[in-house]
């Protein structure tokens, strides 16, 4: 990763490998994570904190599901679509998952082209990622609409435990909000890439700080995280 990770100094340092390297870094001055910029460190720590948010949401949902005395609706039936004369279980969720994971692929490619200073490809791939993300949110809206027309509400549903609807809307809603924010920031960063802000060192509108192509990677970290969280939601909510 050494060549794709920007350092502020531009010079690689000779450091011991393995555990000794970790100890050397942590006992050194200035930085505990050598060659990790402030922005990237901040994103990683934020994601750690956000992991605890999603962890608490999912644990609460599992507690509710395990402790309720009313039967839990069967996800295979609830989340099936009637296509071509038969009910296909989880088909929409499968497509959504496919779309979101694909968007991680395009994001990774955008990061690569960003470090190659290929403005056009980077921006296009980021916008493609945003489009896939927006598609995901759109399909989620469709799923919500379908369930709501079938009578699912946060406070109850026709098939069983009321906590099904509550947890479903809360967790997918919270995740969908994350995706939506991601899409917005993808578009903002893509615009900066397209306009060449990172080549000309144009200061940010709010922060008055100059950015660089590492922003694409930091954006990618967030995006992959949101993607990974979805895998857990998919496993614990839909497959359980």
């Amino acid at each position: 990763m050494a060549d794709t990770t920007l350092t502020h100094t531009g010079q690689a340092q000779a450091r011991p490998a393995g555990l000794q390297g970790v100890a050397a870094d942590w006992s050194s001055d200035q930085r505990a994570f050598k060659n990790v910029s402030w922005g990237k460190a901040m994103m990683w720590i934020f994601l750690l904190s956000d992991t605890f948010v999603f962890g608490c949401f999912l644990l609460s949902y599992m507690t509710a599901r395990m402790s309720t005395r009313v039967p839990w609706p069967n996800p295979s039936e609830v989340f099936s679509l009637h296509i071509g004369g038969s009910d296909i279980p989880l088909i929409l969720i499968a497509i959504m998952t496919f779309v979101l994971i694909s968007s991680s692929g395009t994001m990774a490619m955008a990061v690569n082209f960003g470090y190659r200073r290929d403005r056009r490809k980077t921006a296009i791939l980021m916008l493609l990622t945003a489009a896939l993300g927006a598609t995901f949110v759109g399909m989620q809206a469709f799923e919500w609409t379908k369930l709501i027309t079938e009578g699912v509400r946060p406070w109850g549903n026709p098939w069983g435990a009321a906590q099904f609807g509550s947890s479903f809307f809360m967790i997918t809603g919270f995740h969908g909000t994350h995706v939506t924010f991601g899409v917005i920031f993808l578009i903002i960063v893509a615009r900066k890439v397209w306009r060449g802000d990172y080549d000309t060192g144009r200061p940010g509108f709010f922060t008055s700080r100059r950015g660089n192509y590492e922003h694409v990677e930091i954006m990618g970290l967030y995006w992959h995280f949101v993607d990974l969280v979805w895998v857990f939601i998919f496993a614990f909510f839909y497959l359980w």
């Binding site: 001055d29 608490c56 906590q163 609807g165 809360m170």
Partner: protein
Amino acid sequence: MVDVTPADAVPPAEVAEMELYHPHSWWTKYVFSQDAKVIAIQYSATATAIGLVALVLSWLMRLQLGFPGTFDFISPEAYYQFITMHGMIMVIYLLTALFLGGFGNYLIPLMVGARDMVFPYVNMLSYWIYLLAVLVLASSFFAPGGPTGAGWTLYPPQAIMTGTPGGQDWGIILMLVSLILFIIGFTMGGLNYVVTVLQARTRGMTLMRLPLTVWGIFTATVMALLAFPALFVACVMMLFDRSLGTSFFMPAIVEMGEQLQHGGGSPILFQHLFWFFGHPEVYIVALPAFGIVSDLISTHARKNIFGYRMMVWAIVGIGALSFVVWAHHMYVSGMHPYFGFFFATTTLIIAVPTAIKVYNWVLTLWRGDIHLTVPMLFALAFIVTFVNGGLTGLFLGNVVVDVPLSDTMFVVAHFHMVMGVAPILVIFGAIYHWYPKVTGRMLNEAMGQFHFWVTFLGAYLIFFPMHYIGLMGVPRRYHELTNTTVMTESAHDLNAFISIMAFLVGFAQVVFLFNLIWSIRHGREAGGNPWRATTLEWQTPETPPAHGNFGKELPIVYRWAYDYSVPGAKEDFIPQNVPGSFGSSREPA
């Protein structure tokens, strides 16, 4: 500890100079400022302002407890609202905000040798969202039905039911929204503090050369970033229970003869989420206090801190352990007995690193050149108060002792000693210590002495009798107990005594506030380093430090933060940015 870098062996700078946003107008300099020092003062002032509201609420509570039946305007509903708002404001909006937002913002960049926090704009947003949270919270006093009266723990189901003040009105909603905002705002600041400590130290500043203040604030911030999510989730879910009619925390329940629509939720789940946040929160407040008090003691006893490495590992150890003790707040909630056993064990294990810290403070004082300045008095008072509060913690940490004491005034006395009075004493000490750096002038000594003695002795006169009436079985959170058997004549007299002491201590704080304002103009000129301290914030070219903290060149750190009374040194202290080893082969500084 020999930890001195030779002058020619300082590592090269790894990070380019930080680009600062230089304000163009009065608004961007003093109001929408991105300077961590201005943000720190904004945080502190806001926290103090809302803290004064909580202080007045405590007086109102003491009026009712000390003289029941005398004050008609304190209805049972109002009394519950006072308790709730007093507790929540003091714990979250005052202590957490003041230690992390106030001291963290001011001291971290100065102490690690940085120009500012790594992302000043985000840091500024953190304050404004905190202010919004405070305003939302304060607005609940004026909302229909008043603020929530659910107790600061906000336990469902009662928190959102009709009988509780604010339960079916605006009170609980505003409280939950305010907490959610606070957490969002805090996260923005907290990420800054952590990254600044980890990635923006100056040349020569290793983690093991950080002043313990930074270690305390840093560890507390990491804990807050991991503990607040649980409260965030709990708030979101309770907000849905209240506003959308979901049943995350609401079991099937009959209210005033009517079956509610709720059913199937788990009130215990809320308690787990709340205390998974709530217990680390105790140490989020305590660890910065531990760190600051270490520095105060070392500086004012002119002696290096005893067992620096142990102090650091004790802070980190306490931080880690505090995540596995939360259910000791729930011994009477209904848990598997083995859970109680587990959580009692982990709770008592925390006593080990804590005791290490207390011993190290005492050993730092041992044969030190103790200057009984006002900050030192507060630091010494903290040690005894913390030991006292900690000892009653051993009672409450054991299941069998906790069960009869739970929900008595003993618990109130315990946590006020250990996480109310003790950290507040450190905050006072720290303000007397760093005020000269912030303003360039010393706080008035006579007023300081008065403030200290009234606060310190008064706090004991308030809370020691409270342990006693708790042991007699007087429960907490009761509006009035005059005609019951637990409320004996003597307990009642003590209650009146406690109330009078509470008013006295409260008024001493007015003297303190006056001192803060008076000394800005009339205090003695302090100079750059009035305490002759070693850490970097005292070595700035200007006092108060300018935007960017250190003038043209960032300081280079050659030694740890505690070189006091070094044999052979010119003065009895060597600042961290002074090169050369002292003793037999002494280099010119």
